[in-house]
Symmetry: C2
């Protein structure tokens, strides 16, 4: 039985409950972060803490926890649950005002709800899926317009995963106005020769913490990085493709809408970037 964190308390997971009036439950009025754990240490913790702060700020919410308090809770959960490899999920909502109203509650009266829990994933770094690569389908991107805010409005990404599964694929890339935005829970990239192409940051995509690190490492390794829009057609014609996220790190894509990329196995660039990312991020893990 996991121990989870809820509003200052460490509880058995089955006892962690929130009010039915919580605005996370009634109105999806909350944000989240997922931080990976490797060798019992937190990967890119400060990147996630900074993005959390930004998400909260965009929604006029204040962070009830300092960076150090947040770090201490993460570490306590890693320790109590004996996590060597896995993830820590964090969610902050605008709290439970005791009734339902579209108007934000007075922050002096209604405190945010803070939840954290671990997901134990032994073998996460050596995930065998990274050796096979992912099959991807494309779906229309019909999400709201502020995907740079990491809110819990995840119904459509969840539907996208189900569409992929029904189509015999592993995941979906979303397409808006003819261009790929991102995956259901990851940023999307294609590779042409030595060039890595990925959509530029805007309100239309998540500002991936892993994305930022991978692009930095790629540039340091003398790879070309081009931040621009690309179509599904260009992706199907690319040499390689991959996705990045906090929990998948760098994951090769080997098939898009039924078209194999190259010989249908992970190419050279994505596996190399995965290796660099794991090595480098472990060095700064805390």
């Amino acid at each position: 039985m996991r121990t989870v964190y809820l509003n200052g308390e460490y509880l058995p997971e089955t006892e962690a409950r929130v009010s039915i009036f919580d605005r996370g439950f009634l109105m999806a009025d909350g944000v989240y972060e997922v931080t990976s754990v490797l060798d019992g240490k937190l990967i890119d913790f400060d990147g996630h803490a900074a993005r959390l702060q930004r998400s909260l700020g965009e929604l006029d919410m204040t962070n009830p926890l300092t960076r150090d308090e947040l770090l201490a809770i993460h570490r306590e959960l890693v320790s109590r649950n004996g996590i060597d490899e896995g993830m820590i999920y964090l969610q902050i909502t605008r709290g439970a005002p005791g009734d339902r109203d579209f108007v934000f509650p007075d922050p002096d009266e209604t405190k945010p709800t803070v939840v954290l829990f671990t997901q134990n994933k032994p073998g996460l770094a050596n995930n065998p899926v990274a050796k096979q690569g992912l099959k991807i389908i494309s779906v229309n991107d019909i999400r709201w317009g502020r995907r740079d805010i990491k809110t819990v409005q995840l119904l459509y990404p969840s539907m996208g995963k189900m569409m992929a599964r029904k189509a015999g694929a592993d995941d979906a890339w979303m397409v808006e106005d003819g261009y790929v935005t991102e995956g259901t829970s990851n940023n999307a990239y294609i590779v042409k020769g030595n060039k890595i192409i990925t959509r530029a940051l805007s309100n239309n995509i998540l500002h991936g913490i892993t994305r930022a690190a991978v692009l930095r490492f790629a540039r340091e390794a003398q790879m070309d990085v081009e931040e621009r829009n690309f179509t599904i057609e260009e992706a199907r014609d690319a040499d390689e493709a991959f996705v990045t996220s906090a929990s998948a790190f760098v994951m090769p894509v080997v098939e898009i809408d039924g078209t194999k990329l190259g010989d249908g196995t992970p190419g050279k660039v994505a596996p190399r970037l995965r290796e660099i990312y794991l090595d480098e991020s472990l060095k700064t893990a805390i």
Copy 2:
């Protein structure tokens, strides 16, 4: 203290809690309905029950309750909480699978979460706001593309209400591709002469239960109804405007983006439609 309903039990409102793993809380994977109560009776109950069924179906969820079970719970809550005028809020989520995953849980293992609670609003039918009318601002509509499914992804509508409040207005109308879609929690209408103009049904707007009834009553009263797109500029130039929703019924709009409509008081059509709606829907209330 209210008595609320949660998964088969009637509980004091402060004891009604859901798991932190509920997909409503983690992923906004849930739908809702709001049914009004007048004279202790349910307005348009069957319309709301039918729309609930449709919302669930669009998300591949099954309704755990029959129409009659749902009706019995609504009536029990009205009775236990002594509601003469007010609302009953109902939410069904895909349940709490015990962990977080984008993939839908097996419905044989994870049962939906069902929550209902009352909101007591004495004087709802004679709401004095209906005599003054609402001041509206326009905001960009950046919501997801399936607004015909009544999901709990209400963060942006909530933000819209806050934008309105900051601008000294009562509510916001949302504009997409140059045309008004709807209000933050209501359908939007303008009136030109004897003609009522409102956007046609599609995935872009909620298929309002009150909308359907009001348009039917309007046609029966020999008013012209035109279902088509309109711009904010056309709305600012209209003779009248109004909104409809289950809890506001028909509510006049007297100002849009700082421009008064007519003399800035409710006109003739909206107040008349409100009267007809209240009279007629009370006749079929159950």
